[in-house]
């Protein structure tokens, strides 16, 4: 082997291969101009789905819910959701840069947080919730993909602890387009002077007064509640679309709603004083939580078996808190508690590797 050969060949490796250059060019030298070839490791093709596309599709599927919130509660609904989103996205932009904003995950956090708030929530509180959710719920853990808890729910938990009155002041729906604007623009650190009709949510009525709400009111959303929890049908449609595109794991909402339905049906059988399954499913934030919060990919299990366990756990806790707990609603805490369990669930449900026997390492 000649050293000349080695040298020219190595040089050719480094350079851009073009026609006719160097040694041994074939007699029929093709004329393609110079071709710059890319060199990557396999696989060389890629499925079209991207993280951005998943996140922004989730945002798009939430838009009907946001629109419905405005329909029920007036312009304040959009202001609250918008402000929470500005708080979340702004924090992400400030602390981790523009690229992190473009993936769309902060926008989802903001919108979801907004949807868990009441229409009369002062904007400064909504903003604070968005900031806290992203800063402490997500960036503190290391940003996208690293957080243990759903950031929107962290934001909401913070608001619930900080402003227990404002977050449980539920304006009645359909009071006019501008009804809550006065509260909405309450100055920072000032409590709102509630001048609209407020009313108890169906769950609170059930818990503290023992009355239930008619099912069609619940399904159509003409009850008091947070911005996103009244549009049950739209949430289900959005979730179904995402599930069909494989953008959310259908096992989680199905598991949660199934568990809640089963448990409440069993309780209802034992004693009809317990609410019936349909009331349980369509009241409160269960649908929003089951479809959009619990299915957050980062904070839910990666294994299929894990998804079922996670969902069953949430459903169980929701019923437990709603029926026997001190609070009328328990979706938020149920999801946050199960979020904390995800690493353990994942570890316990690792799939059996092909060609091995479960429980025996290496086989």
């Amino acid at each position: 082997m000649s050293t000349v050969d080695r040298a020219t060949a190595a040089a050719r490796l480094r350079g851009i291969p073009g026609p006719g250059a160097g040694r041994g060019a074939s007699e029929r030298t093709p004329d393609w101009g110079r071709v710059a070839l890319q060199l990557t490791a396999s696989p060389h093709i890629k499925a079209p789905d991207s993280t951005e596309r998943i996140m922004w599709t989730v945002v798009a599927s939430l838009l009907p819910v946001v629109l419905a919130a405005g329909w029920y509660f007036g312009v304040s609904a959009w202001l609250v959701i918008g402000t929470a989103t500005v708080g979340a996205v702004g924090t992400e932009r400030l602390l981790s840069g523009g690229a992190a904003v473009r993936d769309g995950s902060a926008a989802i956090t903001g919108i979801l947080l907004g949807l868990t708030l009441p229409a009369g929530m002062p904007l400064w509180m909504a903003l604070l919730g968005g900031v806290f959710g992203i800063a402490f719920g997500k960036l503190l853990f290391g940003g996208l993909g690293q957080n243990v808890f759903n950031p929107a729910l962290v934001g909401r938990a913070f608001l619930q602890a900080a402003f227990p009155v404002a977050i449980t002041t539920w304006p009645a729906p359909r009071q006019g387009f501008l009804a809550q604007v006065g509260d909405t623009f309450a100055l920072p650190l000032m409590s709102p002077a509630v001048d609209v009709t407020t009313t108890a949510t169906p769950l609170a009525e059930m818990k503290f007064e023992g009355t239930t709400t008619a099912l069609n009111d619940l399904v159509l959303g003409s009850t008091a509640g947070s911005l996103g929890e009244t549009a049950g049908i739209l949430i289900l449609l959005g979730g179904a679309y995402l599930a069909l595109r494989n953008y959310l794991d259908w096992r989680i909402p199905v598991g949660i709603l199934g568990t809640v339905a089963l448990l409440s049906a069993a309780l209802n059988l034992v004693d009809p004083a317990f609410p019936d399954p349909l009331f349980m499913i369509f009241s409160g934030g269960l649908l929003l939580g089951a479809v959009y919060m619990a299915t957050d990919m980062v904070t839910s299990p990666v294994t299929r078996a894990g998804a079922w366990i996670f969902a069953a756990g949430i459903g169980f806790l929701v019923v437990l808190i709603r029926v026997w707990g001190g609070l009328p609603e328990g979706v938020m805490y149920a999801i946050l508690l199960m979020n904390a369990m995800v690493p353990f669930i994942d570890r316990a449900t690792q799939p059996r590797v092909f060609g091995t026997v479960r429980g025996r390492e290496g086989a």
Binding site: M1, G24, H44, K46, T51, I54, N246, V302
Partner: protein, 457 residues
């Protein structure tokens, strides 16, 4: 253990695969329409062929010629070095120009024999004896296959004769012929099955004779109905053979997946197909073995799909082994303006070529030219635990977890998560919405682990 009910098959959700198939896997667009209908044509001999001494898994061959030697087509120019090795034969008549370093099809540099092809030669082989296979003992068949330099033509290029001689403690029940061709774009095996069905069955007979097995199953993906039909029509009577139509899914053609699809058996981790009573041979290799016993000609040419959206005239070609990429592209009308990457093999597991002078070797099943739109670099996002990679991995690993360990350089820990079972099929990287180069990192981790073990030994 809690087992999810996977009977429900929702659209967009991959549940339990319908048999015959395997679970998990991915569905890249097969893109075979570019070349699937093109009949196999013989490419003219190039001006020069380059034959690397290492074209197979195992020890490289030892050169038998020196510069200036005249060789005829089919002459042995390098000898097998040990049992897991095969000889190399001249793929064209001509004069040995040099023996030295040359770009190899695996992207490295390797020693190769360059032959200046005789310009006006008829390229006729020397007269040779063709052994009648029925008169040979299994050991003689194995020796003949090795002497003909036949390797697995599916891509891995494992010497074909080694598989024909399983150790006595592994009784073989049946021969499994791999006609899955699950890599997108590639159609060479497809054309072989359609056009050379008789030859495939002839090869099957010889293999069954050598292995002493009574049964043979040919697995073909359902997207090749004409191949299934042709094979069934030509199937020999009086022989226990069957053609199985398989689900269309990548990586159906991986040995372990194919065996699982056809038999429901799982090859134990770290073991080989022979440990579950079967030998898997690619359909192209079977046809090549048949040719050896038809004409006596060793493996000097192979059928290659030259395809992809950046190839002007996609074709299935009979190419002399050692033909340079440049010459093949030239024959297929050249490349389009928006070419980005040229891959030997399929786009899922193939090797990108830096140099148009790299030769096509025995294991090169296809040349796929991809466009800039396909091969564009993508922004890598953090893992969002979407679990698509878990649903894709055909051997049920947790690529998401392995990816995190790989990024942290914790290679030793990866072994505990069964890195060794990863076959680098690329399904995880293909589906990852965050474009994390999972399978690429696993390849690095495997190499690092191998080096560590070598150093320890």
């Amino acid at each position: 253990m809690f087992k999810p009910p996977s009977l429900v098959q929702l659209p967009g959700v991959r549940g339990m695969a319908a048999r015959p198939g395997f679970r998990h896997g991915v569905h890249p667009p097969d893109a075979k329409e570019l070349s699937r209908a093109r009949t196999i044509r013989r490419m003219p001999f190039p001006a020069e062929v380059v034959l690397p001494l290492r074209q197979h898994t195992g020890k490289p061959a030892r050169p038998l010629v020196k510069p200036g030697d005249r060789v005829e087509r089919g002459d042995k120019i390098a000898a097998a070095d040990g049992f897991v090795s095969v000889p190399i034969h001249a793929s064209a008549a001509g004069v040995v120009k040099s023996i030295g370093w040359w770009p190899h099809a695996d992207g490295t540099m390797a020693e190769a024999i360059r032959i200046q092809v005789a310009r006006f030669s008829a390229q006729l082989p020397r007269p040779r004896m063709v052994p009648h296979w029925e008169g040979l003992t299994p050991a003689q068949v194995v020796a003949a296959v090795q002497e003909a330099g036949v390797v697995g033509l599916g891509g891995a290029a494992f010497p074909a004769h080694v598989k024909l001689q399983p150790p006595p403690d592994c009784p073989i029940e049946f021969l499994l012929v791999n006609g899955a061709e699950c890599e997108p774009y590639l159609t060479s095996d497809h054309r072989v099955m359609v056009e050379y069905a008789e030859r495939v069955w002839f090869g099957v007979r010889i293999m069954m004779h050598a292995l002493g097995v009574p049964r043979c199953v040919v697995g073909v993906e359902k997207n090749k109905p004409d191949a299934i039909e042709a094979l069934r029509a030509a199937a020999p009577t009086g022989l226990d053979v069957r053609v199985e139509a398989l689900t269309v899914k990548y990586p159906q053609g991986a040995e372990k997946m194919l065996i699982h699809a056809v038999t429901g058996r799982e090859v134990p981790s770290g073991k080989l197909p022979m440990h579950v009573g079967t030998v898997v041979q690619n359909v192209g290799s079977i046809a090549a073995i048949a040719e050896v016993f038809e004409t006596g000609m060793p493996l000097v040419e192979r059928i290659v799909s030259v395809t992809g959206p950046a190839i002007k005239d996609p074709q299935n070609l009979i190419v002399p082994v050692g033909t340079k990429l440049r010459d093949v592209l030239d024959y297929c009308g050249g490349l389009t303006e928006d070419v980005a990457e040229i891959v030997f093999g399929g786009p899922m597991m193939g090797i990108a070529q830096p140099d148009l002078d790299a030769p096509l070797i025995k294991g090169t099943s296809g040349v796929v030219a991809l466009t800039k739109a396909q091969a564009r670099p993508r922004t890598v996002h953090p893992c969002i635990q979407c679990a698509r990679c878990l649903d894709a991995c055909p051997v049920f690993l947790n690529p998401s977890k392995l990816g995190r360990l790989a990024q942290a350089g914790r290679y030793e820990e990866m072994a505990k998560h069964h890195l060794a079972d990863c076959m680098l099929c690329g399904s995880c990287s293909y589906v990852c919405p965050s474009s994390i180069p999972l399978s690429q990192m696993f390849a690095l981790a495997k190499a690092a682990e191998r080096r560590r073990k070598e150093q320890a030994a």
